[in-house]
Symmetry: D2
Subunit: 326 residues, 4 copies
């Protein structure tokens, strides 16, 4: 099955990923981790919810933590260009057979809720409250000094189907892994904002959220976080890394929040704004795609993810490939 | 004079700045500097011209050096989304009273030549030859390890006019300096690709090209270049820096090629893809806009620039402000 | 006048520079700067004195701030190998015609006070209270993340005399600047602990303390400090840098505390433990010795220094050379 | 068995580790690795031997590669203060029951050969040819930009015996691992030059050389080497890391040369010149001593080492502890 051709005139204009909401079981512990250790700024706190942003962001939040009985991920939110894009999105999603609804969200304008074909909950909005810049408030930088939310990565029970759907919405593939024999997609990275990805899909029990990533400035920020976590009681929350992915060229680290939600800290990717930017194809058997260098990923990294609240994941259509150790 | 509202539906879709052509008087000396010292890759050499790209680029070139009797800058080139955008560009530019012509350029498709109201020569194309990625050929990295061309910066005899014109083409202002009393623009940074700028304008004898910038990964790459230039006979080619601009938050260094063409090496800017990204206003009297920290810029940095071949610059409409030392 | 041969069997064994005491006029403001901004740890506070150490140090303090009516520097303190070295130091200093006395100092054992031939006050001790390591308490790192005190640098009215005296005590010259014509020393860097220097002397109105330096890990720590100082009201306290000295190969920054005491932040020097390590000779006219690259030093950097309490400096025997701009 | 008290007046004055000689089976392949990839400078080549130094070193070599039928390590060499120390070393070693001989070595003066109680071959010299500094020849830096040889690390069949012997020679313990129940030493780090170690011993089949380490400036140099090795055919030569040791606070990477000789690249250690510098005690069961953070070491790292030519290693007196995974 060949990679679908990129849709260069999508039905509506998605600018970028925006934020997500995590259900967490102990808001105080989560605050200590997300703000005290990672270094995100708390922008609001109310009714059991904590709103956070990264240091160069002007939007009100990129992460919402919501106290709940059980940990879960919630809708993946995207910002569109203008109000009219929300109406165009409604029409397009309904033409694709997806149900939509208008929902109320604090700090943001009109918001359209829907889901992808496997049930990944998604939301679109055009305007969110804007905050004064703290980009040059250097005294407020700490932890990993996170600069901006970068991407979501999801387990999908059928990556070919995920890519076909999101491609239709105008997300362009930058890198992908395919089975040499069948051509079936194993994983794909798709973007809107001109980087390697706003969202990626990997074959597995899904839909589930594998991780949410933040962009940082240099590998030294990530090394600082490792030193901090290793000496403040968070060593067990370091899951994988540091290392470099072949895919995306990212220097990476994966850590787990107190509820096991996985976070990637990430730098060294590249610009992909050209409409004729050629996707990079990786053979499923090439160990460098996962790990250009670095220790093999632990089993937990291949298996665990955050369930979306109320969405039962299903086994993938492709049998699980053997885990390729680098 | 207020900043014009950003045009959210421009007449044609410019993706990003692409490249420029420098006339140089000694191609061998220029090659030693641009490739041997800065670290750009030579992608082709023919008929007195050298084509170069930065390490993450797939397009055939971002700089062309052309042997000539006298140093000069030539057209600033931009990549548009698709062929149809070239026709739309032709119409739009002519509606704005600009002359256009179709020109032949090696390694690229149909190319539209025109100029801005002050005579800055510009060209637009949709497709350039693509080259295999060298982004992970780490053995080929050297010098400052330049990753991609980032922006052009021009002297303009009337920045309000420059901004009005380029805004009409869909370039959005991210930061600007205005005179508190008259509101006249002193300088403005404008982008298409989602960073702080693809092109910027500063009040001065113009049009002239002030500098061309390359994006690098960390300040340490720039420090490595300083060490290298200071010990290989290029110490006099270091003009200004390192330092940090308030504007754009850039950690910067300015160096001069053997003909005096100015190059900025640059990191630490930020993402501006949001259509409601608020421009940052800097007071002309705020020394931090030029230099958040670092030594004052030398007079040459305020005064010198590359003339565009065949274009006579004129005195600016605003009287030169006193140079503000940080 | 040739450089004196290094004394390989000095009369007593000095291990390293240890600490100094600054008289400051507003202890609260000084604390905000030295601890809150630079990042030194406060280890004790009592009777108008604040004791500080850097992050890898086990000795009780490397800086003492003492509230006083007027700013001043006080004795430069050195640690010797063992108690017997104090008695040997007393004999040696008295043989050299220097007066000595035993003084009481908090947190340290028997302490010998004396002075060099130009009146620089010095103290020697063998044992200071030791504190638990905080080297891996990464949560406590902030500011420039200072790791250890590195050296003192003094104005001397006669560098040849300074070098002759300190050489006799076993301090070995690693780099020096001499007048090509007369051979007179202009400046010299002398060490005991195996780095470029524990103490240095520069020709000038002296004795005065030019600066006290701290060693940091990478240039990025220094850039972090610049960003922090530039945005927290300390931009005027940045005096010179960043840059690289030819001498010592140091990547450097000079900042001023609230009373004008000068502090250098410093990395990239080298190991000098070999007894046959050849001093590097720099010509007074070679601009790279001061600044391999970087902006010229301001006049204040050449002229200002901290007076030693109660010691009147005198004009140097060598006429002031013209300030060599890089 | 308590740690022996440091000998503060050793029988002779060892300045630092100096160099070693590796037998390699393909000198061309070794040259490509040690010089072409790691970045050491070739200072001489003759009669099947290659001499190399790191970038800040003035001594003629820190590594000698010698073509041979079988890979092996040879004598560990140390520099002493002056010629008289060689005679004092001869007397001291013979008093300790060690055989000694005078040997001829190229580029160095009078050289004393001996061995430690388990047979580690050692050599001492006072003077080696000195070379002009290349510390500021920045154009010559490449690979990991190695600055200086830092330490040797050996497997010992009885670490208590190793420490007792080397302590007698004046090497001071900075960190050590001991069995909580018996007090037996499991590993110890010992220095002369004022860093964490010139030589270390770990319990195991010995004597064998576990690794030789080079000091680099920042973690980014090590990340550059990883990127380079992973893309130039050396990915299988990356054995362990990057990570941070609890012991020594080193940010580390272990790589293998073409013959399996292990090399550590290393930064972030600390100064230990104080004679009362307290050794840090690590519990054998504390996983942070091996790995403050980072992937567990592979089995090969615990088991493999370079045999010393002609020296048969023996099983250690302490039973192998279970490998403690971090």
């Amino acid at each position: 099955m060949p990679l679908p051709a990129p849709i260069l005139h999508p039905p509506f204009n998605t600018v970028r990923l925006s934020h997500t909401v995590f259900d967490v079981t102990d808001l105080k512990a989560s605050r200590a981790f997300w703000s005290g250790t990672l270094g995100l700024q708390v922008t609001a706190e109310a009714e059991g919810r904590l709103f956070l942003r990264a240091m160069e962001e002007r939007g009100h939040h990129c992460i919402v933590l919501r106290e709940a009985k059980l940990p879960a991920a919630n809708a993946l939110s995207f910002k569109v260009w203008e109000e009219g894009d929300l109406d165009r999105a409604k029409d397009a999603l309904e033409m694709l057979g997806r149900r939509t609804s208008w929902v109320e969200r604090p700090y943001q304008g009109r918001t359209l809720a829907s889901s992808d074909p496997h049930g990944v909950p998604v939301e679109f909005y055009a305007r969110m409250d804007r905050l004064p810049s703290i980009h040059q408030n250097y005294a407020a930088y700490h932890g990993v000094k996170p600069l901006r939310i970068d991407h979501f990565n999801c387990f999908s029970p059928n990556v070919d189907e995920s890519v076909a759907f999101w491609n239709t919405l105008g997300f362009r593939v930058t890198e992908y892994t395919a089975d040499e024999d069948t051509g079936a997609l194993w994983a794909a990275w798709m973007h809107r904002k001109g980087g390697v990805h706003d969202i990626a899909f990997t074959n597995g029990l899904g839909p589930r959220l594998h991780h949410t990533a933040f962009w940082v400035s240099t590998p030294l920020n990530i090394i600082d976080l490792l030193d901090l976590m290793a000496t403040t009681g968070y060593v067990a929350n370091i899951e994988r890394g540091p290392g470099r992915h072949g895919i995306s060229n990212a220097f990476f680290l994966y850590v787990l929040d107190p509820d096991g939600h996985r976070i990637e800290l990430y730098c060294s990717d590249y610009q992909t704004v050209d409409p004729d930017h050629e996707p990079i194809h990786w053979d499923l058997k090439d160990p460098r795609r996962q790990t250009l260098w670095g220790a093999p990923a632990p089993r937990s990294w291949f298996e665990n993810g955050s369930a979306f609240a109320g969405i039962a994941p299903r086994e993938p259509d492709l049998k699980a490939a053997p885990i390729v150790a680098p």
